[in-house]
């Protein structure tokens, strides 16, 4: 069993109300480390055995078609150990 992770984030030029809210809340709690916060989605996909190249290509396709909306989002696919 392996895990494929798809991270989906809003494109940088798109407003991210959630990230903004977190960025505003952190200093109110005394946390001052963040210059900026963006919030996205993380999908953990479990697959049988080691993922093949063909399988990863399929995941890319699914990420583009279902897991993200390319008009406003970008995604990355990777295998996690």
């Amino acid at each position: 069993m392996a895990k494929i992770v798809v991270d989906v984030m809003l494109k940088p030029e798109i407003l991210d109300p959630q990230g903004k809210a977190v960025a505003a809340a952190l200093p109110r709690l005394g946390f001052t480390f963040a210059k900026d916060v963006r919030q996205g989605k993380r999908f953990e996909i479990e697959v049988d055995g080691q993922p093949t190249a063909a399988q990863l290509a399929e995941v890319e396709k699914a990420a583009e078609k279902l897991l993200s909306n390319p008009v406003i989002e970008t995604f990355t696919v990777r295998v996690e150990k």
């Binding site: 109300p17 959630q18 809210a21 977190v22 809340a25 109110r28 709690l29 919030q39």
Partner: protein, 226 residues
């Protein structure tokens, strides 16, 4: 009796909650999230809405508002505190009530007239109801599924701390059909459906919700919660 109604940025049902308090015969006092003063109120309602847009997690940001400090302190000494919907989420995030509220199982917002059964009519907010009384009030939320681990669930069931349950089909995926929960002492109640929208059959499905507000006035008149 003075009942405080808190307004966080993004709170929506504050005016409705205040109206419900007045209908029940109390005085509603509005409390501002950024003001750490309870202005002498005898009880507090955290109303519904989308405080801070419900971004991050519902209630997660408002739970740290300045007004929450005196509220938590007073509630821990027995002051009646009711969290409705988003208010319930704030109570859970503040760990005043065990468990958490998560995404509805159907993944979308639902607004419907919901039948409930009152399971515990001994709390500060439910004493006006008969034992096992069935009522209909609006349910409206996107993240109303009550979740907790098995141990907590057994404890809540064992101690009679589930104050109301959904009747019929599970509307949102809550464990054990839980619609409302109280703390050990019975002064703090978190409730997912909206009694403040059911105080008059002209504007709500029923007037069944009024009981929550008359309950607390009765409890306060009797000297509060032991």
């Amino acid at each position: 009796m003075k009942i405080g109604v808190v307004t966080f940025p993004g709170t929506l049902d504050d005016r409705d909650a205040a109206r419900a308090v007045r209908h029940a015969g109390g005085d509603a006092v509005s409390l501002w999230h950024n003001d750490a003063d309870l202005h002498g109120v005898d009880a507090v309602i955290l109303p519904g809405g989308f405080s801070y847009g419900d971004y991050l997690r519902c209630g997660a940001i408002s739970r740290f508002s300045p007004v929450m400090e005196p509220i938590i302190a007073a509630a821990q000494k027995g002051m009646p505190l009711l969290g409705i919907c988003n208010g319930f989420q704030v109570l859970a995030e503040a760990h005043l009530i065990p468990g958490a509220l998560t995404r509805n199982h159907a993944l979308h917002f639902i607004c419907k007239d919901q039948k409930l059964v009152i399971e515990n009519n001994q709390t500060a907010w439910t004493s006006a109801f008969a034992e096992k009384e069935e009522i209909v009030i609006p349910l409206k939320n996107g993240e109303g599924a009550y979740m907790c681990d098995d141990q907590t669930l057994a404890m809540l069931e064992g101690e009679g701390r589930i104050i109301a349950r959904y009747v019929g089909e599970n509307p949102n995926g809550s464990r054990n059909l839980i619609a409302g929960v109280t703390n050990e002492r019975g002064n703090i109640v978190g409730l997912m459906p909206h009694p403040e929208h059911a105080i008059d059959a002209l504007t709500g499905p029923t007037a069944d919700g009024l009981g929550f507000f008359t309950s607390v006035l009765k409890a306060l008149a009797a000297g509060g919660v032991k």
